[in-house]
Amino acid sequence: MKSREQEYKEIFIAEALEYYDALNRHISDLEKRPQDDQVLAEIFRLLHNLKANAKAIGYLHISDLSHKLETAFSLIRNKELSFSDEVVAVLFDGIDLLGDLITNIDNDSYGEPDPVLLRNLDIIVDNLSGSTIELAKVQRYNTSKNLSLSDLIYIQIKKLDHMLNLVGELMIDRDRVLSISRELDNDELKSVSSHLYRITEELQYSVMDARLVSIGSLFNKFPRIIRDIATAEGKTINLSLIGQEIQIDRNILQIITDSLLHLVRNAITHGIERPEEREKKGKSREGHVSLVARNDRDNVVIKLSDDGKGIDFKQVRKAAVEQKLVASDVAAGLSNSDLLGFLFEPGFSLAKEVTEFSGRGVGLDVVKNAIDSIGGRINIDSEKGKGTSFTMQLPTSIAVKGALLFEVADIFYAIPLIHTESVVAMETDELHEVGDVLLADVKGETITVVYLNELLNAPEETMRLGDKTKLSGLIQNIIIVSYNNRKLGLIVDKMYRQQDIVVKPLSKPLDTIDLYGGVTLLGTGKVCLVLDVPAITRYFIHRR
């Protein structure tokens, strides 16, 4: 596979050539209608983008030339330079040279751009409306040009979505074929199906790869946004961006865009203090916000941190009781990480005033729903006076997920790995009946455990989640899942394996049942239900 730099370079060249084509078209138009402001504005925009892109990637000849041309056109736009024949000739030459430079980026023997032409450009810019411009003759570029088409194509994301769906279907059938070929024990069939396996896998990765974009395409929008919010709030913010080159599925990035914007607004309006206040606390006047992306196994982690005032746990506790999310005696005993969970409850708010940018009743629950919908996770960490950070763990791809397969009451289930912490086997004796739940000590941490069969299949009136006699066998397999800063152990009947699954959303009218994130077909043709960890956690809390 090509390196990322190589890929960026190809994208740059393709875009630059497109700009070049557009410039040629527009300047020809302009020659016919020199007064057309729209055409001028478009030329201006193209040159400006080309300059910025070339500079970013380090092609200084191109950015310098674009700059000179941009200056010339800005003079024309301001009517300081007339669009006369001589000027037109120089500009055409300049654009031709631009095309030449772009097509020869990889050609080391190309050398420097024609100095005569560059000087001509300088002359028309410097000699404003000068009557006697001495323009040197330059060699015509236009004569020996080849026509060529771009190496890149634009494709609608919809088409890639469709392809990915088809690949998903194909993978399900592939697994089925593979399992049948094992049953039939036919060597030829086995060799064909293992070949089919490899090809589908490669196809899957190719389609997934085609959908990847760099996180920078979102991150790079933030400097401007943050500046605007900070200005409105009378704060100064220093933003650092790390990991723009990390790749993620375009649709996932699209889905979290609003969430990230929401969190950033919150961080600036509620997190970061005013400069005077910061000074009093011995912090720098300037607030710091960082957006960091990194790869973690198959996932992408995006972390947003600020060095603001942090979350006031006392206030959260008070608000949770006031908003009747928890009884006051229970609230007193809750840990900080339990309290942070309330921030994601619908309607929960700590904002006392509504500003232009935040505190309008759109809570963190919206953020969490968006992240839940793509099977991701979000965690908050906060220290009073020091700052707050949000960590989002996102799948790299929507369709294919690593999942843990297991069985409860003869039904196959899967839980996406993104929600699992660990898997432990424990003797029934090690589980303790405390109140109406079971508790277990897992590596020094006390975790609430629930028998899935009881939670899913017992009649709701007679459900007993704290009754060990409901369990069968001496050893219990427990999947520790985590959601919203809280861990929960799920006891399953049979533990199977870890496997990549293609989650199919449930079709109507079942799509409104939130306990299931979807279904998948196993190689045996059996239907496997994909449990939604957020929903199962909510259901458990609600039952208790």
Partner: protein, 195 residues
Amino acid sequence: MKRDKNKSIDNEGLAEPVDSAPTSSDLHEAGPSETTPNPHLPEETVHLIVFKLGAEDYAIRIEQVKEVTVTPNVTRMPRTPDFVKGVANIRGDIIAIMDLEERFGIRPVIDANSSLLTYTLVIEAKDYSIGVVVREVPQSLNLSVSKIDKTPAFLQDINIHENYIEGIAKVDNRLIIVLDMFKILTHDEISELTE
């Protein structure tokens, strides 16, 4: 995968074959008792799939039925309403399987002689499909539209929402309740599940 507009009826394992439905409905007549009032003007007919719920005969217009198949392996879905039997894999599509007896509170008739085999009518709504389980082999029936009484007086007395009943047909001393599946699916099931 989209199947074509012709309805396919799966004959596999059926005790008596069901007509594979032709779209032209002029050939088939349900029984000897049916008479055409005016032989020169062919009367408008309707093609129904008749099935049993409890002890009674119910029917759906064939246009609403995508296929009839022996009920496949159904995976139960815990914590869904009782009338949702679960989900099943029908030709690669995973669809919801419903039990209308449960839905309408119809007492099932358990016949010791009847086999364990049940049949599933796959109903195609606008943008999704749904399976309805029936106990006996569904049958096909052509009927003139005039045989269906659209507004019988007793409708208000029964426990099936009157909107779901298109009418009551009387054929050979049999009383057939004609359901409008689309209305059942669009109204009621969905709101029930969102609760």
